[in-house]
Symmetry: C2
Subunit: 200 residues, 2 copies
């Protein structure tokens, strides 16, 4: 697009193309889709994006994303802070919150152990989980990880680490399809998986 | 996401979900992908989006998108203003510009005639094309429309409208695959199609 080098469109396409999963072609398509929006829709979106970029941070307790640290869940005295649900991603936490089936708190690992991808224990956000367990405030840890090889490996590793502390460790059970991720499940399946949890 | 109602994340997801082709799920995924970007990448993107929203407009001559009206192409005295290439979309214009094979100017129709979709002549951006042809400044009109039923119908209709004016009307020829759109073609195919143009 030599014609607009340095122009607004070229800059938008260039910045979009730096997002993960975007190539030059998908960035051009996204830019066109955005530019054909009315200004009254695009300007608020730009403002929301800037506000999110400036305000949203990782909760130092559980690892989710929120405008406050600790996050709204960790700061909520109505939630059961003795019941910690361990999930892989923020998207998984959002799925459980939408289903309104977990009244405890969370730990977001930020991924799974993976020999193939070279992700080891140090790459997981677990420090604050172990701290909370050691402090004695945690009664039960629910492992709500995906039913994948990596999820099972991670659950097994966490169970081994947590067992000596004496905390109850359970896993979500029936319902999570093999190879599936929690994020795409309907609320009913999520509820079934959570209520059918068993000792890990 | 009851937890963040009214929060930065909820607002971003809500505004993203209003974009065409976005549902609640894809908006959540897009928001998460954006929020895991460093602030140093997301803030400039938000600024670029706002600048584009405020500055980019439709060129009153050719119908493309640019920060200026007339656009950089229409305002360029180096381009051949007697040679007008008619394309369906801004994306098609960008594809031809990237290939650097057309030194004339453009007319962006903004779509095609389509009986099925109920798009008639009034839905196409043709007024400024006919004005330019009537003014006598145009020597040749190249119809660079997709090789689809709608593209062929539109080319035929334009040819019938333009023939009485005496302007030369040509079509891009070999190279545009049947059912294909110009936007996805490589530069060589685009160059072949353009140089193999023939009277319509
Ligand atoms: Zn938290
Ligand atoms: Zn123009």
């Amino acid at each position: 697009m030599t014609l607009t080098a340095g122009g607004d469109i070229e800059r938008l396409v260039r910045l979009l193309s730096r997002l993960p999963g975007m190539g030059p072609r998908s960035a051009r398509r996204a830019a066109l889709a955005l530019l054909t929006q009315p200004q009254a829709r695009l300007v608020p979106l730009a403002h929301a994006m800037e506000a999110a970029a400036r305000n949203v941070r990782t909760c130092s307790v559980c690892g989710t994303l929120d405008s406050h640290d600790p996050c709204a869940i960790c700061a909520d005295p109505q939630r059961d802070h003795g019941l910690v649900c361990v999930v892989e991603t923020v998207g998984d936490l959002w799925a459980l919150e939408r289903a309104v089936i977990h009244r405890g708190v969370y730990q977001v690992l930020g991924g799974t152990l993976s020999a193939l991808s070279g992700r080891g224990p140090d790459d997981l956000n677990t420090r604050s989980l172990f701290e909370r367990v050691r402090s004695g405030e945690v009664r039960e840890v629910i492992l709500a990880l995906g039913a994948t090889v990596e999820g099972a490996t991670t659950a097994h590793w966490l169970h081994e680490r947590l067992a000596p502390t004496g905390v109850a460790v359970t896993r979500v059970g029936h319902g999570v399809p093999i190879g599936g991720s929690l994020d795409v499940l309907d609320d009913g399946t999520l509820a079934a998986a959570l209520s059918a949890r068993r000792p890990a």
